[in-house]
């Protein structure tokens, strides 16, 4: 009874085990985010907004002020909080369905206005909460509930490359990166830089995290890692796309 779980301090122990499926990438992304919040010591200043979809299960995840909104509207809600009280560190947390499909308008416009918030988008290649339908990020040829023969790019186009899009439309001062749960140290450094970018008041910070969904991919642990480590980075290139701290950018 003496040992306590090695959780990030900002995690809310009362709500654990959390509500995500076994092997879900959300847990790892939120672990990296929790550690980044701990290291920056900003737990009392954070407002955390989660979206519809699997990401809403994070509504009681942290010991921070949390709001849950509808279908990609977490970005404008967090924008409003930031404009009303610029001292609050606003984190908009969403999934690929909420961010790239239903709520893409909000993401695009918040990025174009260079709002000083941090948006974190978890990409698991499908709409996981509704049972694994095809999402904008489903890989070409990938089988889902609504593409039983694999995604046909002639019919439904190519997957959305969110960070590339956001990097193209944001101005100076924006931070854009794509991390993966296969490299948690790197993902944590990206999330930390995104929060630091907001603390410095530079502009929009956007981090996409490639994550696993064993339940809807119908994979065991071995195939889950193989898909995250080998298949997803083939199309979604991991790395920093825009970093205002680096010279020579823009």
């Amino acid at each position: 009874m003496s040992t306590l779980p090695q959780m990030p301090k900002s995690w809310r122990l009362e709500s654990k085990p959390h509500k995500f499926c076994p092997g879900c990438g959300h847990g790892l992304v939120l672990k990296a985010l929790g550690e980044a919040i701990d290291e920056l010591g900003i737990q009392d200043k954070v407002a955390f907004g989660c979206d519809i979809g699997c990401s809403l299960l994070a509504w009681d995840f942290f010991n921070v002020d949390t709001v849950q909104t509808h279908h990609g509207r977490t970005t404008p809600v967090m924008t409003g909080v930031k404009r009303a009280n610029p001292d609050v560190i606003c984190i908009a947390y969403m999934g690929d369905g909420g961010g790239y499909a239903i709520g893409s308008q909000h993401l695009v416009n918040a990025a174009a206005r260079n709002e000083k918030i941090t948006a974190i988008l978890v990409n698991n290649c499908n709409y996981a909460m509704t049972g694994g339908q095809m999402a904008p990020t489903t890989l070409p040829g990938m089988k889902t509930e609504t593409t039983p023969y694999g995604r046909d790019v002639e019919q439904s186009g190519y997957p959305t490359q969110g960070p590339e899009m956001v990097a193209a439309i944001t101005r100076d001062g924006a931070y854009v990166a794509r991390g993966t749960i296969a490299n948690l140290k790197q993902l944590k450094s990206y999330l930390k830089k995104a929060l630091e970018n907001q603390l410095a008041g530079n502009g929009f910070s956007f981090v996409e995290a490639l994550a696993s969904c064993p339940t809807n991919w119908r994979t065991n642990a071995k195939d889950t890692w193989a898909f995250v480590e080998q298949e997803m980075p083939k199309y979604f290139k991991v790395g920093e796309l825009k970093n205002p701290a680096e010279k020579g950018d823009e």
């Binding site: 040992t3 076994p22 092997g23 879900c24 959300h26 790892l28 672990k31 696993s212 642990a221 890692w225």
Partner: protein
Amino acid sequence: MNVALKTFSHEGEKGSWTVFPGLCKGCGLCVEKCPKDCLKWSDQLGVYGTPTIQPDMDQCIACGICANVCPDCAITVEKNK
């Protein structure tokens, strides 16, 4: 607090290894990531009624990768100093 902080600890030469069955969902991500391949399924059941894991402490090097990749923070590894 609804977390049952029951623990199963294993002591080894390199360090101590602890699993919290009240947090472990039995996803198996740690089993695949273990560099020494020393994690095996246990007879103890986790929070969803799935098996938790147990290490072979003769092989465990207490690297802590299993604790790092656990989405539920169900594993704690402490290296012997």
